[in-house]
């Protein structure tokens, strides 16, 4: 019941926040929040969207973006594509028009893909969605920021090579790709297939049909194959079930590397002791950072945090939401630098901002996020900006960094794959790619 009251309190607070008039002359920038706090993926969604709102509230508490206050409105999608599209249509024109969309859902993001150019609205897909959208010439309105699935797969192989003593030492080794039997689960195939052929390791792909609550047969096959590493490209309950099953057949968790959607507390906590030592990729580093302390001091210590309890503060999903907020505000800030400081910018101008993000160590330090994400720089052609990821380890209570800093795979390879796929998409959809040389 405690959660029910807290949920009600949060909703009332949020309503009050939205209803509260801003200073009469303070300009505003509107961001719709298509969240999912109920339904099958609520455990991740609630924390992630709270993180986003926390950062937006922190920005407002500090006077907004050069004096421009952020307003936002939530719409519950339940991770359901049709509801997500409904939310998008309902909110996109409110309060002078949306600045940017972030759905946190592959299905909804795919469904909106064709609407974005018509609405001239940028959409970020941080850590999910089409990897080839990194090619901004073909996908001018989509931003798979920081790292795509293909960059993640390349970084995984790079990490395994580092652990083995070099890329050539992977030759002859056996790597199992235990994947969610869905389009998402197969995202790594082009990259892993390429590396397997080029380096000469034995890649065994084993599918886990959704939801993946029972994996005994697959793990017996894995034990028989005696792999050097197991990649866990999983989702939902499949992840905890995989760690439990690995323990059951005695496979070391230290040799399991999960994708970043198999790398949050929602995946490790239910697995209990079986998760200890488990590795996963992440595009946000674990640990304490000044921006988190700032949010805690400014919001949570004053009872203004968006999470329903402090327990999830700083969790992987919460931090991902904070990073989405950081990138949103930085894109708006960049747009203001070009189109007018202290004035609201249009969605098209926000897109310009996303294409000119420069989050180097200096800027990351200024916003208290140095080390939290890899340094990144976007452009008209490159909507990814980094391509690096980190390997983290579950120590039984928390995630801790495992790799020495950020790991990036063969970026040239990933870019080549993205360009090939984007070109095919452009041909299929009759899209003429932008000439980035002519963009300002």
């Amino acid at each position: 019941m405690k959660h029910f009251y807290k949920l009600a309190t949060v909703l009332l607070s949020a309503s009050a926040l939205l209803a509260a008039p801003a200073c009469a002359d303070q300009p505003e920038q509107y961001i719709p929040v298509l969240s999912y706090r109920v339904g099958p993926f609520a455990a991740n969604g609630a924390s992630m969207f709270s993180g986003l709102i926390d950062y937006l509230n922190l920005t407002n508490a500090k006077g907004g973006i050069n004096g421009v206050r952020i307003t936002f409105e939530e719409c519950e999608t339940e991770y359901n594509t049709s509801r997500g599209v409904e939310c998008y249509e309902r909110l996109k024109d409110r309060q002078g028009g949306a600045s940017v969309i972030e759905t946190g859902s592959t299905g909804i993001a795919y469904a909106l893909l064709d609407r974005l150019p018509q609405d001239k609205l940028p959409m970020t897909t941080m850590g999910y969605g089409r990897a080839d959208a990194a090619d901004g010439r073909v996908f001018p309105w989509v931003f798979p920021l920081i790292s795509t699935y293909w960059s993640q797969a390349a970084a995984m192989v790079e990490y395994m090579a580092q652990q083995s003593g070099g890329m050539d030492r992977l030759k002859g080794k056996t790597i199992v790709d235990l994947y969610h039997d869905s389009a998402y689960g197969k995202e790594s195939f082009p990259v892993l297939d390429h590396y397997a052929k080029e380096i000469g390791f034995n890649l065994i792909k084993i599918a886990i049909p959704a939801p993946g609550i029972e994996q005994q047969a697959q793990w017996l096959q894995i034990r028989q194959a005696k792999p050097d590493y197991v990649i866990l490209w999983g989702f939902g309950v499949m992840n905890a079930a995989a760690m439990k099953a690995a323990a059951r057949v005695g496979y070391p968790r230290e040799k399991m590397i999960g994708s970043w959607w198999a790398g949050s507390e929602v995946d490790t906590v239910p697995a209990g002791d079986a998760a200890k030592g488990y590795l996963s990729m992440t595009f946000t580093a674990p640990g304490s950072f000044p921006v988190l302390e700032d949010i805690k001091g400014t919001l949570y210590d004053r009872g203004k945090g968006n999470l329903s309890g402090d327990a999830k503060f700083g969790s992987v999903s919460h931090v991902r939401g904070i990073v989405i907020g950081i990138l949103m505000t930085e894109a708006i800030r960049a747009a203001q630098q070009k189109y007018g400081i202290g004035r609201p910018v249009t969605a098209e101008q926000v897109r310009w901002g996303y294409e000119h993000l420069v989050l180097d160590e200096k800027r990351l330090g200024e916003i208290g996020a140095l080390g939290l994400i890899p340094p990144m720089k976007t452009s008209c052609a490159d909507h990814e900006g980094s391509g690096a990821a980190m390997v983290q380890e579950w120590d039984g209570t928390n995630f801790i960094p495992k790799s020495k800093g950020w790991v990036a795979g063969d970026r040239a390879l990933v870019r080549k794959l993205a360009e090939q796929s984007a070109a095919q998409y452009a041909a299929d959809k009759n899209i003429t790619p932008r000439d980035c040389g002519k963009e300002d």
Binding site: A207, A217, L220
Partner: protein, 297 residues
């Protein structure tokens, strides 16, 4: 050979766990002819309530006992608020009511206890039995073995209850012909409360065992998916059928995934049981142990 045996044994043990979930469906269908779509939600609710209470500082054994009492209270509420008003309605109305009930239970459970994924430690190690592994090369999890024993004991107790006790016979009479049972004075309300309570308790046990296996989270509602082919094969109204169906599904899906899966691209574990169930439907629609369908023509 050891590998084959390991896959087979693992499948059989998993099958007992499927049978446990199917048992909840059977109990309600047996007594009221209603396919309870909310059974998966009840599995989730049971585990979530027990772990939720534990997180509030209640010892696990007491949390389980309190959840069991809550389950009985819930059964009374369901009988009073949903089943009783719909008693004279066609079975499809009752089925639709359980469909709605599933969503209500899932939503309310998360509103009250939160949506955090939780670990549940019943104190049973989930690692292979070392002596068996060392001597035969076959790995069997201690947890799977204990869970199977618990499930089998539950199936045995419920079978005995239905066949040996007066209340059990009353339940069967209601299932056979509700109006005739009422005419001879069998209290239908009490029967429904008993059967929903029993199904709730079975759901609690299933929730605790599956929750300890994969964690307590929303996906526990999905274990019901594993019960459907078990019910088709074992029969909707047979307790031993749930057990037998579970064994058949568990063993066959594992063997198929290992030996047939690689030939057709893998990942067949989710739909292979339904192929088997469809074949059974064609040959024996009432299932292996279900009441034989006899129609006067």
């Amino acid at each position: 050979m050891a590998f084959f045996v390991e896959v087979l044994v693992g499948g059989l043990l998993a099958g007992v766990m499927y049978g446990l979930v199917a048992l909840g469906f059977v109990l309600i269908y047996k007594a009221s002819g209603v396919f309870n779509f909310a059974q998966g939600a009840m599995v989730f609710l049971g585990a979530l309530t027990a772990t939720g209470l534990e997180q509030q500082g209640v010892p696990l054994w007491l949390a389980i006992a309190m959840t069991a009492i809550f389950t009985v209270v819930l059964a009374i509420l369901i009988e009073r608020l949903i089943l009783k008003p719909l008693l004279a309605q066609p079975p499809i109305s009752l089925f639709m009511a359980t469909l709605g009930l599933a969503f209500v239970i899932e939503g309310l459970a998360q509103a009250v206890w939160g949506n955090n994924a939780r670990a549940l430690d019943l104190g049973i190690p989930d690692v292979p039995l070392e002596w068996l592994l060392d001597s035969t090369g076959v790995g069997v999890s201690t947890f799977d073995l204990v869970a199977s024993i618990i499930a089998l004991a539950l199936i045995g107790v419920l079978s005995a209850f239905f066949s040996l006790t007066k209340t059990g016979r009353a339940l069967r009479a209601v299932a056979d012909d509700t109006k005739a049972a009422l005419s001879v004075g069998i209290p239908l309300e009490r029967v429904l409360i008993i059967v929903w309570s029993a199904a709730g308790l079975v759901a609690l046990v299933a929730g605790l065992l599956w929750g300890a296996r994969n964690g307590v989270q929303y996906s526990l509602t999905l274990v019901a998916l594993k019960a459907f082919p078990v019910l088709i094969i074992g029969g909707f109204s047979s307790i031993p059928g749930a057990f037998a169906g579970g064994l058949i599904i568990g063993a066959s899906e594992k063997l198929a995934d290992v030996y047939i899966g690689p030939m057709i691209g893998g990942g067949i574990e989710s739909w292979f049981p339904y192929v088997l169930a469809l074949l059974f439907l064609l040959v024996r629609p009432e299932g292996l142990f279900g009441d034989r369908i006899i129609r006067r023509v």
